[in-house]
């Protein structure tokens, strides 16, 4: 089964083209990293790949189905997005925030979502925030909020999970926890696409990588063969040495300024 397959996706805002005829694919049940310098258009592209914002042109297929053609509720049961820096003026408890993830599974008037309680609890457990469920969301730290928003996305029970910088604000332990969780989800058949700033984390955790620069895809494919020193030098204008971690056998990227 194919995962996410986007072709010729173009998005412009106020006359400037932010995403320019992007073709990309995310293999089914993989963890794929979207990397690229600041302003490359990652957030804009992610919103379109989750079909929340309709691109000006192009198509987005998921499991061979047109994601942009689904009803809103159907789409929200299929794809979930975790955005950066979620905040609210509204005094909601952590549990109430995660319960919002059940919205696409519920009708407006009836209580027809019998498993909601258990699903919400499991989502809070998965992100390690079960003890926070009665806290007021706005009293949490940035990292804690990030994990709650991930739990909200999990409560949607999506088959496609899109995340914008999910490790932002997190300390290193929490970063590894979140990436480990994303890896496990991918192992369970969820197709996961995450924008990541940290190339080292991308190299360690992602099966595939998509490299975006100035709204265009410059490289894509399996992480080890795609994220090469030459590519990093080209895209980020830094020198990179790729070493092997003697403890894990996984790659480590050492950076230095061009010179």
């Amino acid at each position: 089964m194919t995962g996410l397959d986007a072709s010729r996706v173009t998005i412009s805002v106020g006359g400037s083209v932010l995403v320019d005829e992007v073709d990309c694919s995310v293999p089914h049940g993989s963890l794929t990293a979207l990397v690229g310098p600041n302003g490359a258009g990652k957030s804009t592209l992610l919103r379109s790949l989750a079909a929340i914002v309709r691109p000006d042109s192009g198509s987005v297929l998921f499991e061979d189905e047109n994601l942009l053609g689904l009803s809103r509720r159907e789409r929200a049961r299929t794809a979930a997005i975790v955005e950066q820096d979620a905040s609210t003026e509204v005094a909601l408890t952590v549990r109430a925030v995660v319960e919002l993830g059940r919205l696409p599974h519920q009708s407006l008037w009836r209580d027809d979502d019998a498993d909601a309680g258990a699903i919400v609890t499991a989502a809070l457990d998965a992100v390690g925030m079960a003890d926070f469920e009665t806290r007021n969301f706005s009293t949490l730290s940035g990292g804690e909020r990030q994990r709650i928003m991930l739990a909200r996305a999990l409560a949607q029970q999506p088959r496609l999970l899109v995340l914008d910088e999910p490790t932002n604000h997190l300390d290193i332990g929490a970063q590894l926890d979140v990436l480990g969780l994303l890896q496990r989800l991918a192992g369970q058949g969820v197709t996961v696409l995450a924008a990541l700033h940290d190339l080292g984390l991308a190299a360690t955790y992602a099966d595939h990588v998509i490299v975006l620069r100035a709204g265009r895809v410059v490289a894509a494919g399996p992480t080890a063969s795609t994220l090469t020193p030459a590519l990093i030098r080209d895209v980020y204008s830094v020198d990179a040495n790729i070493l092997t971690n003697p403890a894990t056998g996984r790659p480590i990227i050492a950076f230095s300024a061009l010179g």
Partner: protein, 338 residues
């Protein structure tokens, strides 16, 4: 989770009982000295249970004046509280309120205009159009200032409502030959002195047509807590929901103002008070805010018509005496909104 739902149901039933009790008691309070039992025997007689113990005049005071006025107060209070809670959620603005954003003054202007043209049948519709127009003007003006912040919206609302109020006063002054000052005060500050059975019919119909459907959208309003993109990602049709609910709120406000004038702050005080007790989930908040708004206005109006007996205050003075300090408190507590 179940326990918080149980608590909400208990609170809802408690407020429902308190509302019925408030209506039952408020009807018996007034300048004319009529006993509790006599009041209810009279009301019973109009419902086909026995004979009225009172003279025709005193019977009229109970049945034609007090009862419709108390029932109208309850409906107007509920409607304004629902309207305020919805506007706060949809515009993500804790200061939103039909009065502060100019809807009430716009509705007053619409109502006064058709009354003076002699087209009283159109009264609720004209008030609705007035409030819708005022809302549109406020939002256009606020967005022309740049990014829409809560404070900018309130300032824009102030401009719109000052203009609408001035035109209302001018129109009344121009055309009414009798006590134009009393008339002007009634529309600008809100008064339930003129509420008869027709007002009961209009306001209850508005609660049925707009209020109850709005209350059933609580889950959608919750989804707006994190902004439009977040609501969209949860499968909500953001623009249809936003405009549908804003129009429904304008309809509700217009219907209420068409019988009561612009009563301020009810939509601000009650939703905030209820949130402090039950949190911000709208499925619980909306019905509880409606019930407490009804209770609040029944008593505010009872105070307005009895404290300075035999003179009457416009009820809007009572609600402003309570609401303006609440508004100031919210401003001080949420400085980042500016």
């Amino acid at each position: 989770m179940r326990s918080s739902l149980t608590r909400a149901v208990v609170l809802g039933v408690g407020l429902g009982v308190a509302l019925v009790a408030s209506i039952v008691v408020a009807v018996t309070i007034g300048p004319a000295d009529i006993q509790f039992g006599e009041v209810w025997a009279t009301i019973g007689s109009h419902l086909g249970l026995g004979d009225s113990p009172l003279s025709v005049l005193r019977d009229g005071i109970v049945w034609e004046l007090r009862l419709p006025r108390v029932l109208t107060a309850a409906a107007v209070g509920a409607g304004l509280a629902i309207s305020g809670a919805v506007m706060q959620a949809i515009t993500r603005n804790p200061l939103a309120d039909p009065y502060l954003l100019g809807l009430s003054s716009g509705a007053s202007l619409g109502a006064v205009a058709v009354l003076l043209l002699g087209a009283a049948v159109l009264l609720p519709f004209a008030a609705f159009m007035g409030s819708l127009l005022a809302l549109a003007l406020t939002l256009i003006l606020a967005s022309s200032l740049g990014v829409i912040t809560p404070t900018r919206t309130v300032l824009a609302g102030l401009a719109v409502s000052s203009l609408a109020s001035a035109i209302t006063s001018l129109v009344i002054f121009w055309t009414v030959t009798g006590d134009s000052y009393r008339e002007i005060l009634g529309w600008l500050l809100g008064s339930l002195a003129g509420a008869r059975w027709q007002a009961v019919a209009i306001t209850f119909a508005a609660i049925l047509i707009a209020g109850i459907p709005i209350m059933l959208t609580g889950r959608l309003l919750d989804a707006f807590a994190f902004g439009d993109v977040s609501a969209a990602s949860l499968g909500v049709n953001v623009s249809a929901t936003r405009w549908g609910l804003l129009v429904a709120s304008a309809l509700l406000t217009g219907a209420m103002v068409s019988v009561s004038g612009a009563i301020g702050f009810v939509g601000l005080i009650l939703p905030h008070a209820v949130r402090l007790v039950v949190g911000a989930g709208h499925r619980v908040l909306l019905p509880l805010a409606a019930l407490s708004g009804a209770i609040f206005l029944v008593w505010a109006d009872t105070a307005a018509r009895t404290v300075f007996d035999p003179r009457e205050l416009p009820v809007g003075i009572v609600t402003a005496l309570i609401g303006a300090p609440v508004f100031a408190f919210l401003l001080a507590r949420k400085r980042q909104l500016t």
